[in-house]
Symmetry: C2
């Protein structure tokens, strides 16, 4: 059995893009896992891993080995459990890394200032002070000031998704006929705004929204069993 | 023997990003080919292919079969000549398509207005009127007006290369330890500004420039034999 340390928000919300990548990888491989949600102020529970960031997995079947960092976890899972690979080849793994880099700039950097105050409202009440303090220090302004004017930034954000839109307009998944880790990278990035905010990040008729819905639908049973069905 | 119809500029310059993708694919596979360069006003020479765009290849070893469109050519080459694959897996092919989409937006759309007047000066003299007329009609302004203010746009263009920069800083090629089609896609996109203009699109110490130099170096012999060594 694998234990997944996942970031926990208020009302059992999960919105860490990196944790979503790991969760989807486990669903993809059909590996059963135990959910170990922790909030921002529970980092001491990760002390065993020598660092404070989720996701972390502990693989009880392999002598309690732990792995942190979503990318390292994906590589570990393909090595330890080769069936249903996340990366079809070494080349795919390299190209998936490009998708991770692209998500970090095109999605995360655009999304952060559009949802950060909403996200604050959805972290657990006793984590809010920590969240506000660390983020406002990092960005040099209040969460509310960061989020201001988001409607004006939305068109440029959506335009920046064009390389993804072109791809999922012509095929079911980023990885082709079946999803692979590159799909979960980008899907995870979108779970962040979708679960932390009600701000409409995508148009209903955006092919990117249809692609997200295809993945939701593929794992509808797993998401429902974990109380995480999309609204 | 394969014939490659490549776009020809003044002084034997080659700057079509799409033709470069095909040329590099042929080098990669070690397939000998006959160079058939044609200029903008020689499109009638492609009449056999039912369209007017390069690259087109004619595979004499396969009954004179022709293939147009650089992407289709890459797929054809891997099918007809499976050794030294351009795509290591179906998944890699899908992810390479993402790189092509990204190159089209992050590179081509940024590069075009920074080099288009320079490019005009490097098409063959008798192609210049055609080039100016079609491009000015398409973009609704003169080539010179398009190119104006490029120094101000350069920082945003370079910042947009960050997903690529992060990748080639940590590994030799986009595809990993060895280059694959995704490398040739992006390399081809850069040959366009590098061969059509003297405008410094990349800083000397940019890891992207180092990655281009690694590919140049890998195919130094082939490029020299074809009179196309980088300056």
């Amino acid at each position: 059995m694998i234990v997944l340390y996942d970031l926990l928000g208020a009302d059992n919300r999960r919105y860490s893009p990196f944790c979503w990548r790991t969760r989807m990888s486990l669903y993809h491989k059909g590996l059963p896992f135990e959910d170990a949600p922790i909030g921002f102020s529970d980092k001491d529970k990760l002390a065993f891993s020598g660092q404070g960031l989720v996701p972390v997995i502990v693989d009880k079947a392999k002598g309690g080995k732990f792995v942190n960092d979503s990318w390292q976890i994906a590589c570990y899972l393909d090595e330890a459990y080769p069936a249903k690979p996340l990366f079809a080849s070494e080349q795919s793994r390299s190209l998936s890394q490009f998708l991770a880099n692209w998500s970090g700039t095109a999605i995360h950097m655009g999304v952060a200032p559009m949802i950060i105050a909403d996200l604050h409202a959805r972290v657990r009440p006793h984590d809010q002070a920590y969240f506000r303090e660390t983020r406002e220090k990092r960005f040099g302004k209040t969460l509310e000031a960061m989020q201001e004017g988001r409607e004006q930034r939305l068109p440029a954000f959506r335009a920046g998704l064009e390389p993804l839109r072109m791809l999922v307009r012509q095929q079911s998944f980023i990885c082709g006929a079946q999803p692979g880790y590159a799909d979960y990278i980008v899907y995870g990035s979108f779970q962040w705004p979708l679960r932390a905010s009600d701000f409409k990040i995508l148009d209903d008729d955006d092919p990117v929204a249809a692609w997200i819905a295809r993945i939701d639908s593929l794992y509808a049973q797993e998401l429902a069993a974990d109380g995480l069905s999309p609204k």
